[in-house]
Symmetry: C2
Subunit: 448 residues, 2 copies
């Protein structure tokens, strides 16, 4: 795929540089807009405006819909303001609103004053980007209960250009409140004189405009919908979000979780500017540094013990490291369970019980292995007993903090993924050292 | 949500235990099948067969479609074989095939012999569960180029019960090869005597039946489709996969990646049997144990140095730990980038350059902080220089192995997520200790 895109971009660049406009246009026309967007990204930036100019207004709108945010922002800067209004008229409402939201208010106002779709786009500007309202479009087809199926079909024919998303048709009352939903398919499969009231389903699953986009993704997935109507508190229909927008949301949220657990911002990619990436990642490591120094201070406290039995330093990484690995296993399960709504705050007790039971089994197994290994390697029974006991105890710490850290973060209404990996390994490091070196200090005469 | 489900399950259990069948049936009937599935999971296992018996055959089929795999498997065991055939007839083909695939072959054959949908389900049995073929259903409506729109609509009315997924209509030639696609909406919005050939789009994006389900999810997301036709090597239409099935795939794959990075099996949940979970997680820690012992052996090699300068043990966790954190940051970005196809094997060089540049900045910053802290804390310039240099060097190791480990795994055609967290921290531990203690041994006289 990537290779085809690159060769396409090269051929296109050659055509454009040679001024072979018609050939270039033909090549673009035979390419899906999703691929056009990738070709666009692959072009040198000085060729991009030429590429864009070769598209029809519809084609330009489609390209804009498929571009990622960064490229879109760059491109919008280059488009003359009068053609921008025309392109935004053809662009999906939600994308047009995303673009307008990022422009200075005066410019937005000027653009809206010349846009035919201003009435549809303007209400969307009030909703934040990551809410259900920020994802919706106004391209829905409203029906009324008293209409016949034939009237509905005629109305649909009339509204044709705006019916892009008409998989479901929403039935509204005279105040535009959502009363029911009709499947497009059922319009075709019933006699034309049937009333809409007879074929509509009155139980419409809808979402409030200010709900998080993740909640919208959850609903659409749970109830296997193609589209989800967005309503205000009085159930007035404000717009519709569709499954294709929300599919990206599910993936974005998963990426965000993974990144945040290791102290990345959540939307970091290899396209992010180098200095921005470096600064964010370094600041994260700096946040983590105090916890590392606390672990170091713990070791420092036992420096005298280590000076008399340097062999202890050999087993420190095993006890801390295995504890950290075990803690991160539990953590990952709990963070992901919270994100997918499989785990809730009230489930703390059964989950903690379960994780501690598993931790005990982990601890006994690894404690025995590490203990016997230490005994066999260093011919020292006491060292084996101490290392094995500390390993067992640190596994219990791992199960405990791996479960509690994300749950406490959620309880504090913070993102359970944020920083949690660091907290958990900080605990397993500190407590692992404390228990191992503490035991060793007590039984120092047996080791040396 | 979870609370509503629980109270619903309780009310239903009471009704069933009191034998109030009609009330129970009314309560179930007013519940969405997705919620029914959750209620079912919340019921004590002895009440589940009663609940199931209260549903119509269609209701039973819908419930089965919404249950998760584990509950579905349990339930199927309880259903008498003659009613199972009737339920599977009503169930989506792909789910029916999933269920039949898990039964003994003789039982599958017996069930299929009495199923009306056997002709649709049988071909699906040949496809593995996690391929595009394993996700498809046969419920598509085939059209021909010479049909008029009116004929197509009549045909659709005729096929009504099977047209569940008819958002796109596929145009086939006489050998059932895919020639084009028609949007359901366009049937309504053109004159009835238009030929299908005139409104079909000949560029159909399709997927091969043996392609991975992740690839299907990628295509449906990239091209923003509602459904994706599945074809064999000669482009015969075999079935259709839909966006709702694939939305779950995207989320499953993300969960799998997250789990595998920390040594979980990929489909672990809090519902997995305790002993199975414990065994899997322990075996993972055991796999990791040798790497921990190698790091320990590295420290052991320098035991003499530590015996003379126990202060070194204090800084070991900082240098190894921060290196591990930095490595896992890079790793997460690369693993996720590979999964989302944003990174490919040929991108090794730019990504490695970028990550090493960031690693250098991380290294300089943290090296200076750790170095000066060590100097200030222990009043020892040499110790500060050694700790700072080792910190810098370990950051470079982290950037290198964080990038290369997943890329080498992908190059070996393994899952880049598997075990990668362990490998990366094993490297940062081992090389961190080697560099820090090695330098300390060389300059030992300056430290003590």
């Amino acid at each position: 795929m990537a290779q085809e895109i690159e060769s396409l971009a090269e051929r296109l660049a050659t055509l454009m540089q040679r001024g072979l406009v018609e050939e270039a246009m033909n090549l673009i026309a035979s390419t899906h807009p999703a691929d056009q967007a990738d070709v666009f990204t692959n072009l040198q930036s000085e060729l991009r405006p030429t590429f864009f100019a070769l598209l029809s207004a519809e084609g330009q709108a489609e390209l804009i819909e498929y571009l990622d945010e960064e490229d879109r922002r760059e491109l919008v800067k280059e488009i003359p303001r009068d053609s921008l209004a025309r392109v935004l008229d053809k662009t999906a409402n939600d994308v047009a609103a995303d673009i307008l939201r990022e422009l200075p208010p005066s410019e937005t106002a000027r653009l809206l004053s010349t846009m035919a779709s201003a009435a549809d786009v303007t209400p969307l500007l009030d909703h934040a980007d990551e809410t259900a309202g920020g994802l919706m479009t106004r391209s829905f087809v409203p029906l009324h209960q008293e209409m016949t199926v034939q009237e509905a079909i005629n109305y649909l024919r009339l509204r044709r250009p705006w019916a892009e998303e008409a998989y479901y048709l929403y039935v509204l009352d005279n105040l535009n409140r959502l009363e029911g939903v009709v499947n497009l398919r059922s319009l075709i499969t019933v006699p034309p004189d049937t009333r809409i009231a007879q074929i509509m389903s009155p139980d419409v699953i809808a979402i409030s405009a200010d709900a998080d986009q993740e909640e919208a993704a959850r609903l659409i997935q749970r109830y296997r919908l193609r589209a989800l109507p967005v309503v205000d508190e009085d159930r007035h229909l404000l717009g519709v979000t569709t499954v294709d927008d929300l599919m990206e949301v599910a993936e974005e949220e998963a990426t965000e979780d993974m990144q945040r657990m290791v102290g990345l911002p959540g939307d970091e990619s290899f396209d992010s500017p180098l200095m921005v990436s470096a600064r964010r990642r370094i600041s994260w490591l700096l946040v983590n540094l105090p916890t590392a120094f606390i672990a170091a201070a713990m070791v420092n406290f036992f420096e005298g013990t280590i000076a008399r039995a340097a062999v202890l330093a050999v087993f420190m990484p095993i006890i801390a490291g295995q504890g950290g690995n075990a803690g991160v296993q539990t953590l990952t399960l709990v963070v992901r369970g919270l994100a997918l709504r499989e785990v809730e705050l009230k489930d703390v007790r059964p989950i903690l019980t379960r994780e501690l039971a598993i931790a005990l089994m982990k601890g006994i197994t690894l404690g025995l292995i590490v203990g016997f290994s230490a005994w066999a390697w260093k011919h020292n029974v006491a060292l084996g007993l101490i290392a094995g006991t500390a390993m067992l105890a640190n596994m219990m710490v791992a199960g405990l903090v791996g479960t509690l850290v994300p749950i406490v973060l959620r309880w504090l209404r913070l993102d359970p993924a944020i920083a949690s990996g660091i907290f958990v390994t900080a605990f397993t490091d500190m407590l692992g050292f404390l228990m191992f070196l503490g035991l060793a200090t007590i039984f120092l005469s047996q080791i040396t």
